[in-house]
């Protein structure tokens, strides 16, 4: 029986007491233990950013973090972005309108990047948006639709500035 440990992670506002193997990656615990499959796996070596989530308000690559390393933290995934009535967050609406996605696989990670950017910088320039999203790979869009989506979201004040 492999050794396990307890960890407490708050995910999208819900506290979870989990029993994990220390080696389990945060992305796997989110997807498999908690069933939050919106966060995707792209490379497992920290290059593509597909698995990006927010940990204590900061974007991190969930494939480069042990779940046990997230003990005591607050994690936000794409599932935490939606509105209370199950609809889309204004940031997601902006992506929809600007067609900032095609296959959707990189999209949750991109949304986390965009969310963090707009909380810190509600009126980013195109260069600042490009800089922020350069952390994540997209193989479909050529990034143009994503930049337009984030610009649109910014113009609409889709994300409130972080306090």
């Amino acid at each position: 029986m492999p050794a396990t440990a307890s960890t407490m992670i708050t995910v999208n506002g819900v506290r979870h007491e989990l029993t994990v193997e220390p080696r389990w990656l945060l992305v796997d615990v989110l997807r498999d233990t908690l069933g939050l499959t919106g966060t995707h796996i792209g490379c497992e070596h920290g290059v593509c950013g597909t698995c990006t989530v927010l940990v204590n308000g900061e974007t991190v690559r969930a494939c480069l973090m042990l779940a046990i390393g997230a003990d005591g933290t607050e994690v936000m995934t794409v599932e935490g972005l939606g509105s209370a009535d199950g609809g889309l967050h204004p940031l997601q609406e902006a992506f929809r309108e600007a067609q900032g996605l095609q296959c959707g696989f990189c999209t949750p990670g991109m949304l986390m990047i965009a969310y963090e950017l707009l909380r810190a910088n509600p009126a980013p320039s195109e260069a600042e948006i490009r800089e922020a999203i350069s952390a994540n790979l997209c193989r479909c869009t050529g990034y143009q639709g994503i930049i337009e989506a984030v610009s649109l979201a910014a113009a609409r004040g889709a994300v409130a500035r972080a306090g």
Partner: protein, 798 residues
Amino acid sequence: MAAPPRTWIGKDIPRLEDPKLLAGRATYVDDVRLPGMLQAAVLRSPHAHARIVRVDASRARAQAGVLAVVTGEDARAMTNPLPAFCAEPVTQYALAVDKVRFAGEAVAAVAAVDRYTAEDAVALLEVEYEPLPALTDPFAAMQPGAPKIHDTLPSNLVFEKTLSFGDVDGDFARARQVIRRRLRWHRASAQPLETAGAVCRYDPLGQRMDVWSNTNMINFVGWLIANTLKVPASKLNLIPMYVGGSFGSKHVLAKVIAIAGMLAKRANRPVKFMEDRVDNLLASENLACDRYYDAELAVNDQGEFTSMRVQVVDDYGAYFQFGHGTHGNALAQVTGPYRIGSVSYSVQCVLTNKCQQGVFRGAGSDAGNFCLERLVDAAAQELGVDRVELRRRNFIHAARFPFKTPVGNVYDSGNYPAVLDRALELAGSTELARMRQEARAQGRYVGIGLATAQQRSVYGPTEFWFWYDTPGLSSAPESVGLSLGPTGEFVATMFSPFWGNSPETVVAQVAAEEFGIDPAQVTVTYEDSQHGLPGAGPGGSRMAVMLTGATVGAARKLKDKLARIVAHQFEAAPEDVVFGDGKAMVRGMPDKSMTYADLGLKAYWFKLNLPPGMESGLEARHTYDHPYLTLPSADRKDLGAFYPIMAHGAHIPVVEVNPETGQVRILRYVAVHDVGTMINPKSLRGQIAGGITQGIGMALYEEYRYDAEGQPLTGSFMDYLLPTAHEVPTFEIGHVETPSPFTEYGVKGGGEGGRMIAPAALASAVEDALAPLGVRIDELPMTPERLADLVETARARR
């Protein structure tokens, strides 16, 4: 002739696919969870070429949490070889049998309670190999005495043929100038962010296999996969998933399905095999062209291109699963948008100890465009003619369409001068030239590139076999079902998966146009292979055309029935019934109309009010076959029409090259595409931007490298470099619309064009930038070191 005004075709509506993708609610194959499901991991060969002496799985099997281990011997017993689209006896099993032929080939697989445990068990597998000489150079591999990669073949030169059309020798003899280039196009890979995977669940009592996989062609090649799995074709069910990109790499995922299937049978539990990134980089079944071109263009006294000769050596890797279809593909547009009258094309397909080729967006026509456009640029230079003028002079004239090319393929329509003009206008060519002049005066190396090239769409399956003498398949259909329910809601059913293109949106927009409804009123579902109609699925930029055709076909059938119901209701003639504004109406008589809800209710619940003999219900399905496909002639002097829906584009990139560091910065990128009638322009622009970005990857960053022992040196995303947002500019995309005469609504396919044209355009731009040094670009990708070396050599010459 102008098209009638349209309501929905041509509109930038938001995509139907997006809400669930944005919410993270779409089900990709790795999201599938079944009770008792196990996870698999694969042991891969560390050797590029070796005999498998012994596989000892005992320690792996004994590991707690491991429920099944399979090896090559199991693959030989439990499966049939993978489906192959070549005629040659190149046998491939999902796990290597007796021999490994590329570093990364799957040797054994484990199913365990989770992926962590499966990988622990893989580490316990013991394999004894007897290394053999590894062949990495196709020129060495094709030599008669070279070690054979397959004992079933006489040599590693697995296929060799020349196809010749028109009087090539005569045209060359009469030429005023012959332009010759030797070119190199390196191996790349699609690398979608989602890797390939499959979940298999086997029911031994019924011999039934359920497969959730991101494979394509679920309603086209299911029976081939069933054969590989040794289950009856009627008992195999392939369930479509949302797919996180494919770009050609997920057409027939027989290998991952077979691995999961074997383990599912052995473990008697569902098994998921999801490739990780290393699996995908090493062993994706669809690496791309790896070519050596020796090509010539014959030019006459008037500066007209009269003939071309292409000789290609193509390094296929260890298996030949998808055959030489990518050369058939290149023949679809080998003469480009030009009036070249004769062609000879010689191909040598060579096997080496590398992972095999398949298709990657462009599928051979990307490299073909590079070859032709390099020759054209070279011709302009050697003749001392402006490269824009030279192209214009050689374009096929608008009056000549439909145009039959020397190889036999037809170009349905086109207006190449208009596309070029629009591109030059968007680029501001005069101002650009002035800017380049200024930059050069400052000692900066700024270049303007140009490529005017074809982007064929809607493949005909003959391209997979017309290099052979015996005929092969001639079907490549696509189906759509449309139903109208008792509440007036429309449901569209599709039979091929979503790849990141916009199939649901296409179907909804076309249905909306046909019926006069809002696309939001169309619900789209997918059908699996047990309940499916034929569909070859995405690939070859075919879905816009094929889905439009299938939707129109289904709509016509449905409207026919609706018209008869309305006609019967109002004692009118069915041909007088028109559709629009959410209803069907007797022309000119608004009182004599029925809403779709009325019609739905009537058709399902009021049989006795229907015309006599009419069945209850409102559903129509249509299988739309290739709109214009003809067979090749027996002597192969005329390949027939096999890729006639011909889109076109002109790209004008502007780059700056640092001659010391070899770094290339893309300052601007102008692209004008003519893909016929556009259904959703914004969605098309996304495809173009994404395609160009992959083209930038091909031109500057992406390359598979091997050492002398066949060890892949680009086995992670730190070494195989995909462009980030910093490597691409803001694209300036323009459109021209020359409808197709052969498709519904005149639609053409535009999904691949970006990647098919950008590498040629960027080679042109970098060569232009380094023109003061006399540097020639013959090789892609143009890495910093390659460019710096070219500059140094050029400077040393002076």
